[in-house]
Amino acid sequence: MTTLKATAPSAGSNAFGQETASESALRRFLHGLPGVDQVGAEQRAAALGTRSIKTTSKQQAIDLAIRMVDLTTLEGMDTPGKVRALAAKAMRPDPADQTCPPTAAVCVYADMVGVAKEALGSSGVHVAAVATAFPSGRAALDIKLADTRDAVEAGADEVDMVIDRGAFLAGRYLEVHDEIVAVREACRRADGSSAHLKVILETGELQTYDNVRRASWLAMIAGGHFIKTSTGKVQPAATLPVTLVMLEAVRDFRDATGQQVGVKPAGGIRTSKDAIKHLVMVNETVGPDWLDPDWFRFGASTLLNDLLMQRTKMTTGRYSGPDYFTLD
């Protein structure tokens, strides 16, 4: 296995210069990462899923989860009206309760960024845009970069890109790496600041946990601010074991380089219970440093209403029907 402590150079812009100097060096590095035993990883994820989070800790966890939601709509039928409704929901998820926090961001296609930005104004809720020929990523690099620049120019705070899974599965790791580097470059704004880059691995297509770990490292080495499980368009999307392997990767990456990278499971997380299981996993795998919307997000749409329902139950002691929460 690659002894990470020994081989990883200290933090810096060219921290992995040696590893990314050639296709073969990068392959050696990624294939030298410790393997993931499927049975063991799934067992650990299931064990963490049995934690029982009650009363005050449940209340706090639900509020934190709401603050971590990237409220998402990624449909061909998205309209300005739909996006404005979503933005309203993100800023005030529960109109009946002033104390309910806003979500972290809304996540839309690049052409909807302007509408979302306008609707959100100075609320502090970010706009995330999917780009790079989302969801398949099957387009030429210059088109992906143009897609990214489009989103950034329209005011996107965050860009969710997809990696080239075809290149990854064919073993052309350097190509995947260079593409992420180029997209990150395209995230730069005129004023020199930069949109945050989330790198979607589409773990449902990578299939093995070894691949998930390698792709996680590849994305982090290339400079991604976040690694994200899925587009939501491929099943299975986010699962607990996949998130576990990615959390282990960001933990090890910080140990090796001092740089912290965020994690975003997306797709398939629908209930408060699922969300809390993820938070428990964050807490016990990487610790409280990641228990913050800057470092952990949920890519979801239906999750929010379940969080709101549970939240209302916690504050009033009663369950209300789904009609008491807005459908957007």
């Binding site: 296995m1 993931v36 409280p288």
Partner: protein, 478 residues
């Protein structure tokens, strides 16, 4: 503004169990008063006295063996296998139906965390009855070369305190499936789930005398195994007591199976899936407070990755939650008895005195009850007593090796041979190592996994005979 995720207490309700003030013996289908004295069973997590329990004397043992003999000759040995299996299926289902009751009671009396009694002990106990129920009418296919197997008669069974209900089911299920009747003694510190099981036997309408449960300590156990009308002795416990039993029954025609101590090596090669190996190490030694005969109490780690593995292990140990066994988020419960705690402390102090490096994560232990923090010793050599003797607690000895050959030599260099673990991503290395290890159970890339279909038992001083699987049936058939 990082978030402090404290888990609020999540206690499992205790009200589901009804612990009586005192318990008698279960003989011939009835609860009866014993002739002897009584003793108290306490909750090791609080030191609260739970109940007064009868201590069976020789006369009680004789009555129980007679009841078992009568039930054997008149009813159980004459019944068809298919009929016997109905009772076993019924018992299995009742255990499932009353699973929460069993789990809570086990955690109260034993000190183990509710998540283990709920997710491991009780479901596996039910699984043993289901599995053996399936065998009862197929015994002619169980033992190669024995197309018409017969039961042995009365089985005298003595079980330990680490998995009270589960060990009971390991003993009773195969005995009954094969047509034997049983006199069983649970450990003196953990009698309550066995007594609840006696109620299950009544509920299942099991014919009187087929299962008899006698509570007591060493004397009661001795009386059971040396009773002249007992045909089969099955014991799980310490090597010392096992040796005494072997002596006591030597020269008689009793058939014996012994499942004794262990000092298992958990071998981590440099190509191991490291995060899962760390989980396996934790599960290997801290599962059930390390009160596991097959615990991975010696970590053999390849020197080239030792530092990294230890660093990760320590970080992981920092997340273990020690405390109230009934809290659903507890990972490590109470040590079963004051006596066992004293033994763990003594051996750990010896480890320190012999120069090994002792480490535990910071953890607040409750003030009442018997507690010991998860502990590792580094810089341990084969000569240290903590590397040779069974500690039977949450204490891990870390030993390094350089080559696969050295790993195998060190792993086998123990008088025990119950279990072992191998961690590697390389299939050929796993197979080679497994073939070299002198241990009854070898796990690869996992640890402490149990299944009723899988035979379990030891080499050398870890005992003889197998329990579980087809092989386990042989111990109850002639």
């Amino acid at each position: 503004m990082s978030f402090d995720f404290e888990y609020a207490p999540a206690p499992e309700a205790r009200s589901i169990v009804d612990i009586k003030a005192s318990y008698g013996l279960f003989v011939d289908g009835e609860f009866v008063d014993g002739h002897g004295r009584s003793f108290k069973t306490i909750s090791p997590s609080t030191e609260e006295v739970l109940a007064e329990v009868a201590e069976a004397d020789e006369a009680d043992v004789d009555l129980a063996v007679k009841a078992a003999r009568r039930a054997y000759t008149r009813v159980w040995s004459k019944m068809s296998g298919a009929e016997r299996s109905k009772y076993l299926f019924r018992i299995a289902r009742i255990i499932q139906e009353r699973a929460r009751e069993f789990a809570v009671l086990e955690s109260i009396d034993n000190g183990k965390p509710i998540k283990e009694s709920r997710d491991v002990d009780v479901p596996t106990a039910a699984a043993h009855f289901f599995y053996h129920a399936g065998w009862a009418d197929k015994l002619e296919y169980a033992v190669p070369g024995n197309p018409s197997p017969r039961p042995l008669g009365v089985a005298g069974q003595v079980i330990p305190w680490n998995f009270p209900l589960l060990m009971l089911s390991w003993k009773i299920a195969p005995a009954l499936a094969c047509g034997n009747t049983v006199v069983l003694k649970p450990a003196e510190t953990t009698p309550l789930t066995a007594l609840l099981f006696a109620e299950v036997c009544q509920q299942a309408d099991l014919p009187p005398g087929v299962v008899n449960i006698l509570t007591g300590a060493g004397e009661t156990g001795r009386a059971i195994v040396s009773h002249p009308d007992v045909d089969k002795v099955a014991f799980t416990g310490s090597t010392d007591v096992g040796r005494a039993i072997a002596k006591a029954v030597a020269g008689s025609d009793k058939k014996v199976t012994l499942e004794l101590g262990g000092k298992a090596a958990n071998i981590v090669f440099d190509d191991a899936p490291i995060d899962q190996a760390v989980e396996g190490i934790v599960n290997g030694i801290f599962f059930n407070q390390g009160h596991v005969c097959c615990a991975g109490s010696r970590l053999l780690v390849q020197e080239s990755v030792a530092e990294e593995v230890l660093e990760r292990l320590k970080r992981r140990m920092g997340t273990l939650r020690v405390g109230d066994p009934l809290d659903k988020n507890t990972d490590i419960g109470a040590i079963n008895s004051a006596e066992q705690l004293a033994k763990i402390r003594a051996l750990s102090d010896i480890g320190e005195a012999e120069g090994a490096g002792r480490w535990s994560p910071p953890c607040d232990l409750p003030s009442n009850g018997y507690w010991f923090p998860p502990t590792i010793f580094t810089g341990v050599s084969q000569a240290h007593r903590i590397a040779r003797e069974e500690i039977f607690g949450p204490v891990l000895s870390v030993i390094t090796f350089r080559t696969p050959k050295e790993a195998v030599e060190k792993a086998n260099n123990t008088p025990f041979g119950l279990s072992a673990g191998i961690w590697s991503d390389k299939g050929s290395r796993i197979l080679w190592t497994a073939s070299q290890l002198r241990a009854g159970v070898v796990w690869s890339n996992t640890f402490n996994r149990f299944d009723p279909a899988s035979p379990f038992g030891g080499y050398k001083e870890s005992g003889y005979g197998r329990e579980g699987g087809r092989q386990g049936l042989e111990g109850y058939l002639a």
